[in-house]
């Protein structure tokens, strides 16, 4: 495995420092849409782009931003990219935009954006920050898609809207409602942490995020 900075960042964001089960960021907004695979995909792509682009922009501006207004400027940059995404969705994918409703706007307060801006973009070059943002988004996406698979499959009997379960399948309504998302996130955390604990003591962590 190449030890270049990029690979290190990729490995970290997908596994050892995954935004959801290690950093515990970003649970807020996107969990709400995870009862549907298509919406989850679109939301997480949105988060990935917003994180990457805003990290890159903030990294480029980092020497110019005065300390006093650092947080405000960060938030303005993030809002800018999220609004851009919202405008593009409204114009080119109106039905999706309607389904996602206020949750697109909530990407702004998704802790991952702020978290990566503070932890990485502050101290690294723009291109690497872009990569860090994108890979954080990917790690985030992987976990949420896994959760969404379980929730949509058991709650609606479908995947991406295509009926998969047989006719007689009684859907698990709990999977459509809030508590299931919390339980599933905790399950993923438990699994990931147990695997990582087994792999500590020096050797490389299992880089494949097995998911489903």
């Amino acid at each position: 495995m190449s030890d270049s900075k990029a690979m290190t960042v990729l490995r970290a964001n997908l596994w050892t420092n995954n935004p959801i089960f290690i950093q515990i960021l970003g649970i807020c907004s996107t969990l709400a849409v995870t009862n549907n695979l298509r919406n989850t995909l679109i939301m997480t792509v949105g988060v990935t782009l917003a994180t990457g682009l805003s990290s890159m922009t903030l990294s480029a501006l980092k020497d110019l931003i005065p300390r006093k207004v650092r947080m405000i400027i960060q938030v303005v940059v993030m809002s800018f990219y999220v609004i851009l995404i919202d405008i593009l969705l409204r114009a080119y994918m109106p039905d999706v935009s309607k389904q996602l409703g206020p949750y697109v706007g909530l990407i702004i307060t998704n802790c991952i954006l702020m978290g990566r801006a503070e932890a990485f973009a502050q101290a690294n070059r723009p291109l690497l920050s872009l990569w860090d943002g994108l890979t954080s988004g990917l790690g985030y996406m992987a976990v949420l898609m896994a959760i969404a698979v379980v929730r949509e499959l058991l709650g609606f009997g479908s995947l991406f809207g295509i009926q998969v379960m047989p006719q007689g399948f009684v859907t698990w309504t709990i999977m459509i409602m809030a508590p299931s998302a919390f339980f599933l996130v905790a399950m993923v955390m438990w699994w990931a942490k147990s695997v990582q604990a087994k792999n500590t003591a020096g050797d490389k962590p299992v880089a494949k995020e097995a998911g489903k």
Binding site: C28, P102, I108, M177, P179
Partner: protein, 197 residues
């Protein structure tokens, strides 16, 4: 068109039947980190409730009298965030002056209220559902009260779970999230309670 929900009903519904955290998932990040200590949880909960009520009210005014007449809907997110940031900044100064002990114990979490998903979330829900002014205030206050209530309950439960034998992989955040899941289930039991629901 303004929905016909009685503000008082809306207030209670936002606390129990559609709790902004337990039903709508908003505000979980800081929730998990600060609920360990009862006193700071109480203080933060109160601060979030105050900020939510004030910002929802101000945002409604800005939305109705500035954004909509000027056709600047696409800028609403930025405007809302700036309103939140300003209110939090002022609150910080007020707390610093009146209760330095609370200011110290809240530490970094006070400015982080600005990016608390629940606050922006409440404002966005208000915008999408076209609430009137009184409804918006009731909704903001109710959502804040609901967040505070969930925070209190979680913090009380955590005092117990932190002392219990929890599997290593679940320690800390894992068991907290499971607890939140159970709380969410319990709150679903309120569903028939209020006429709105």
């Amino acid at each position: 068109m303004i929905p016909l929900i009685n503000p008082i009903t809306l207030f209670f519904a936002s606390i129990f039947t559609s709790n902004i955290l337990l039903s709508n998932f908003l505000g979980t990040c800081s929730f998990i980190s600060i609920s360990k200590d009862w006193k700071s949880a109480f203080g933060l909960g109160m601060a979030v409730m105050v900020v939510m009520t004030i910002t929802t009210a101000i945002s409604w005014l800005v939305l109705t009298y500035v954004i909509t007449p000027l056709g600047l809907e696409y800028l609403s997110f930025i405007v809302f965030i700036v309103v939140i940031a300003a209110v939090v900044q002022i609150l910080e100064m007020v707390i610093d002056r009146t209760s330095p002990a609370l200011y110290l114990s809240l530490g970094i979490f006070l400015p982080l209220i600005t990016v608390n998903c629940a606050i922006l979330g409440a404002i966005l829900f208000m915008q999408i559902r076209s609430y009137g002014f009184v409804q918006s205030v009731a909704f903001g206050a109710g959502s804040g009260a609901g967040w505070w209530l969930a925070m209190m309950l979680l913090s009380a439960i955590r005092e117990r779970t932190d002392k219990s034998p929890v599997p290593a992989g679940l320690k800390g955040a894992g068991i907290t999230i499971i607890t939140i899941g159970f709380m969410a289930m319990a709150f679903i039991g309120f569903s028939g309670m209020i006429a709105v629901q």
